[in-house]
């Protein structure tokens, strides 16, 4: 479990240093694979079928369908990179470190989930990191990656404090995540069709 959380943090940290969209999506796949692995570990601990089912779903939806659609969209695109993020790579790595420290201090303060505080802290850090990516990256696709990272983080928070929500709600959440990814890819594709850049900092027409 501890090895898994460390690996998870490492892959997520590398997200802050990525400029190629393709690498970012591959890292997202790695991250989702690890989330699935955490699911399996938890399922084995609690010996629940529900856990294995959710692990399988994570594998199919988050490590399969979503990255597949994102990569397909990338293939059709011009070579777009995150050139000038709002926060430079070094600074965002530093911010990611701060997220981790913050997460640990929150968990330490709250003293909840004492049995797997480590996992909970990483989960919160992952959520914060996702939020940071959304706010500091200009490329539309990087923001999607950030959103999915945040979702993964939230999912782990749920897993580490309650061993997961009831199945029907989890299914609904998976479905929503899938549709978010689809809707956002449709929007990105339409931006491209209009011949517009997918650099969201250029989307600043609507004001006041």
């Amino acid at each position: 479990m501890n090895i898994l959380t460390v690996l998870l943090m490492l892959t997520s940290f590398s997200l802050t240093r990525v400029s190629h969209m393709k690498t970012a999506v591959q890292l997202l796949v790695a991250q989702s694979l690890m989330v699935a692995a955490v699911c399996v570990v938890v399922a084995a601990e609690t010996a629940s079928l529900h856990g294995y089912l959710v692990a399988g779903l994570t594998l199919v939806v988050k490590a399969g369908l979503i990255p597949f659609s994102l990569l397909r969209m990338l293939k059709a695109s011009r070579h777009e990179r995150e050139i000038h993020p709002i926060l430079s790579y070094n600074l965002s790595s530093l911010a990611a470190g701060l997220c981790l420290v913050l997460a640990h201090s929150i968990v330490g303060q709250a003293k909840i989930g004492a049995d797997n505080g480590e996992a909970l802290a990483s989960a919160i850090a992952l959520t914060l990191l996702g939020l940071m990516l959304i706010m500091t990256r200009r490329q539309a696709l990087m923001q999607v990656v950030g959103l999915l990272t945040m979702e993964n983080g939230l999912y782990l928070v749920g897993l580490s404090i309650t061993h997961g929500l009831p199945l029907i709600i989890e299914l609904g959440i998976f479905f929503d995540v899938l549709v978010v990814a689809v809707v956002l890819s449709i929007l990105i594709r339409r931006l491209r069709l209009k011949g517009l850049s997918t650099d969201t900092s250029q989307l600043q027409e609507l004001k006041g």
Binding site: V157, G158, D176, V180, R190, L191, K194, L203, L206
Partner: protein, 485 residues
Amino acid sequence: MDVLIGLIVGVPAAIAAAGFLLHERKDALQRLNQGGSLILLLLIAIVARAVAQHGVIQGGLFYVDSLSALLLIVVGILQTTACWVSAPYLAEEGVSKEELAKYYALLQLFICTMLLVLMVENLGIMWVAVEATTLASALLVAFYVSRSALEAAWKYVMVCTVGICLALLGLMILYYAQTAAGGNGSDALSWLVLRREIGTLNPLLVKLSLIFIVIGYGTKIGLAPMHTWLPDAHSQAPSPVSGLLSGALLSCAMYVLLRHLALFQDAVPHAFLQWLLLGFGLFSIVVALPFILVQHDVKRLLAYSSVENMGIILVGVGIWTPLAMYGALLHLINHALIKSALFYLSGVIAQRYHTKDILRIRGLVRLMPLTGSLFLLLLLTITGVPPMGIFISKLTIIWAAFQSGDRLLGVSLLLLLAGVCAGLLYYCWQICFSVQPRQAVPSEAERVVLAAAGISFSVVLFLGLVMPVWLGEMLHQAVLMVMGG
């Protein structure tokens, strides 16, 4: 009854599916949607009547009480008007057959998800449905594939999804508190079970959960400072959709918040709850005010007015007396009806003048007497002119503010509303009366649009003059439900 509730969700889904079979024939598609919306309205009326008689309908995943029934009626009326108004609006826009089929399918899915939000019992499933409303409406916001529409849709999905993820975090914390207090998996996040047990949960966790939930769903309601997506999305969507977004979707989001507050009020100190709600409510009005005073886009003007009205409703809720809650619920209904009608008419006006710029829309009453007068009346209504229903609901909230002993709150609310009123009346004057010579006289709005807006207006006018006994009773029941009676 269970069958009926299933049908309410099923009818829009079925229409969405059937629409694809008819995508070759524009007229048939439109008639299908218009007819279907009437059937749906009828079903909703039957369910609402049953709720008025028996109090609560529940079974399986569904739970409908008077609060849900009130909102069901609102969404029922609005989806009907939106479906009928869509036909002339889209004809004027000249959209293709394929686009039309896509539009109606998304519209029906959007309606379906909103109805689902209002009828499910489990808070987790309610969350899933709320997120689904965002996703179903996002592509409608981006219906015109223009740069600004795509920008609005992108912001809408991003901001609302992040917001709603926070609400999910709140729900997870609540579920954690529930399991820690010995709840088992089968009644996880069930509203009815939680309502019984919330007092036994860890108060600190419950409070933390409340904060995340208010911020999360507050994003969806369009409370400042999380409102940034709202004016963009509401102004860029096709006008019938703007009407639904502003009238129905915001009301549904407010319903979700009320449903959660009904739970939390037993477990959280009231002073804290009031401080949170009044803070967000007043701040929303304050933030919306300057944008209403200096605005040049007629649809954005209406959107900021929605932010302001949601603020008023939240202040009403935050005062937390039965009178204020009654006023807030009444205001929710009135606002939904009037704002949707205003969006429908503004859509027609923007089409006729070929602009949404207020400075270029002149002499409306002279050029389009019927449409102009109706628009004028609706704008006057939203500012709270007597004897319309909105006057009554605003008055009730302000009265309750003074009655609760908080004079400062009452006075600041009055001043803010006066400011908003001044802004709206100024633009109302500009649009309706200032004269500008024009060669081409724009034609009146289509009869359907006038009828839809007229019906909404007459209902609100009627509510200002007489309160029907059954509606009064239903409002009373809903107030009791939220405040825990």
